[in-house]
């Protein structure tokens, strides 16, 4: 039981990390990025190939994965999403952008399928995958490292948004696009950067997941839906919300399944999700406009 709780917390924080990018992008662009899972897949593959070619530690892959996914997100926003965004900027619900991100999701997933084939791949790092005992509770080192990376990355992001010039500009844009451009903030550049950061966080999540997970072209799909649930639970646009939402999901999955069949826990998650939507649609932490 203790191990189940511990596993729930560790997995939850990592789920939370995968959702942080989604919530950040929503907070600023007010757009649900359906390509989230595909970006995660890209991060997993980038990590996989890095480890495969260099034979080093998966966590070192961050050096390559972060810039790779950052620029991927940056340029996808710049060339594919921005044109649609511009034509829809006066629309309250930019549905076109949702469709575009879905198109990107299909493209990336199937590009990976064409390039790498459909087989499952893992990296084997025995030193981090073995469960170790902490006060009699068991958890693999890779998840513990994942937990700390999740907390650190979220903390760094929070700090960046709070104190850096660019971070403040991102917050300003998320609160009032027009006013921000009257301050001389180029809103489309902010969107590019935000998208880049959001995807880079996906990349980090990929590097964190790979040591105990696997990768194949459509791997992002499950996590995609999970992330939607997490961000709404925590409050769309809220970074602490994403982490707490992730923890809740992780705990339901891990602890709940000790009482009911594991395949039923998903149903429980959806039911809780719908209840939250109806009772408090802004989620647990959602304050419109604040991260």
């Amino acid at each position: 039981m203790g191990s189940a709780i511990l596993n729930g917390i560790l997995m939850g924080s990592i789920y939370g990390l995968t959702a942080v990018g989604l919530t950040l992008i929503f907070g600023v662009l007010k757009v649900i990025n359906f390509a989230q899972g595909a970006f995660l897949m890209s991060g997993l593959f980038a990590t996989y190939w890095f480890v495969k070619f260099t034979g080093t530690n998966p966590y070192l892959a961050l050096v390559v994965v972060v810039p790779f996914t950052y620029f991927m997100g940056y340029y996808i926003q710049k060339f594919l999403i921005k044109p649609v965004f511009e034509s829809e900027k006066d629309v309250r619900e930019p549905i076109g952008v949702i469709i575009v991100t879905t198109g990107i999701w299909y493209m990336l997933d199937n590009l990976a399928l064409m390039l790498f084939g459909a087989q499952y791949r893992t990296i084997n790092v025995p030193s981090v995958s073995k469960a170790i005992s902490i006060f009699g509770l068991y958890a693999p080192l890779s998840k513990i490292i994942g937990f700390f990376i999740s907390i650190t990355v979220s903390g760094l992001l929070f700090w960046f948004l709070k104190y850096s010039k660019m971070g403040k500009a991102i917050r300003a844009t998320s609160q009032d696009r027009e006013a921000a451009s009257l301050m001389g903030i180029n809103q489309y550049k902010i969107y590019n950067v935000t998208f880049g950061i959001g995807t880079a966080i996906c990349g980090i999540a990929g590097a964190v997941l790979l040591p105990f997970y696997y990768v194949y072209p459509t791997v992002g799909m499950h996590l995609d839906i999970m992330d939607f649930v997490i961000v709404v639970l925590g409050g769309l646009g809220s970074i602490p919300g994403a982490l707490v939402g992730g923890l809740i999901i992780g705990l339901i999955e891990s602890v709940g399944s000790q009482f009911i069949a594991y395949s039923w826990t998903i149903e429980v998650i959806y039911i809780i999700f719908l209840i939250i939507l109806f009772v408090k649609p802004s989620g647990l932490f959602g304050v419109k406009g604040e991260f």
Binding site: F26, K30, V31, I32, L80, P83, V84, S87, E88, R92, E93, I95, G96, V97, I98, I99, V100, T102, G103, I104, W105, Y106, M107, L108, D109, N110, L111, L113, M114, A118, P217, I225, F228, V229, V232, L236, A261, S263, W264, I266, E267, Y270, I271, F273, L274, L277, F278, P281
Partner: protein, 335 residues
Amino acid sequence: MKFSEKQIKLILLMLSAIVVFLIPVFIKNQGYIQIFIVVMFFMYIATAWNFVGGFAGVLPLGNAAFIAIGAYTSTILFVQYGISPWVGMLAGGIISAIIGIIIGLPTFKLRGAYFALATIAFGEGIKVLFQNIDKIGSVNVGGARGILISYSGDSFANFQWVSRIPYYYIILVMLIILLAITVFLMNSKMGYYLIAGGEDPEAAASLGVNVAKYKLIAMALSAFFTAIAGTFYAQWILYILPKSVGSIDLSFEIAFIAIIGGRGTIIGPILGALLLKPLGELTRTYLGGALPGLHLFILGLILVLVMIYQPRGIQEVLTKIFNRFVKKMVTIKRS
């Protein structure tokens, strides 16, 4: 002889109606008939989606749940109690409409992204439910195994034929009825209120339009007709599985077809299905075997390109071309 634009359009309409009704006479290849059925099936469910997704101005992404409800209701009634699928079809439609209202009541208060996500969760929730439930009392739901409807000879009452042609005409008639209802509704008071509420809920409400009520009616209609398609699906494929009738991929596809065609227009879902489904079939048939994934890549690309260059869907440009074409015909005749 001289024709006005309107007359030419009417002639074209009648011609094409004749063509569509005669296709099975000329085309003996049941493989194509099957593709036509697929295309019309998607035209139908995308049109039903359009009630809510197009006219009421929100983005439902869980409509596969209604297909599942319709398919399961009629199949369970048929397989276990011998009740004709035609009756089951109505039952499924009504159950689905009620569930649509129940789910619509709270969700219509939500806006934009939240509504989309709520419907995704609803759709997935229903799928997982069907996957996990084996039996309710003595009713065998089949769980993850699905339910096979065994073929017991051609019969109208049993909604089963070896030939695809009956299915062709059934879905064609269903489509025409649904389109007629759509045209009728959209030209009625309800249609105007719905569109007004979709475009600007606050303004519509301030004019005394009960937006929520009309949205709920739209939701009920959409759920009802989508569920009927579920029964059609079950009898047409003769096998239902939570994964195939309730999947999120199906929900997304329905929405994409309507959006690429042009949501909020009557012709949009028709054109969307007409573009995407045959294209999907052809690319899957001719490219899928050679390079797995290429066809889906192309679908993704089309989605992106249409949204960038034709954000109101392909109906806009096609309508223009069509009108120009008709005008030209008028001038040719006159000269």
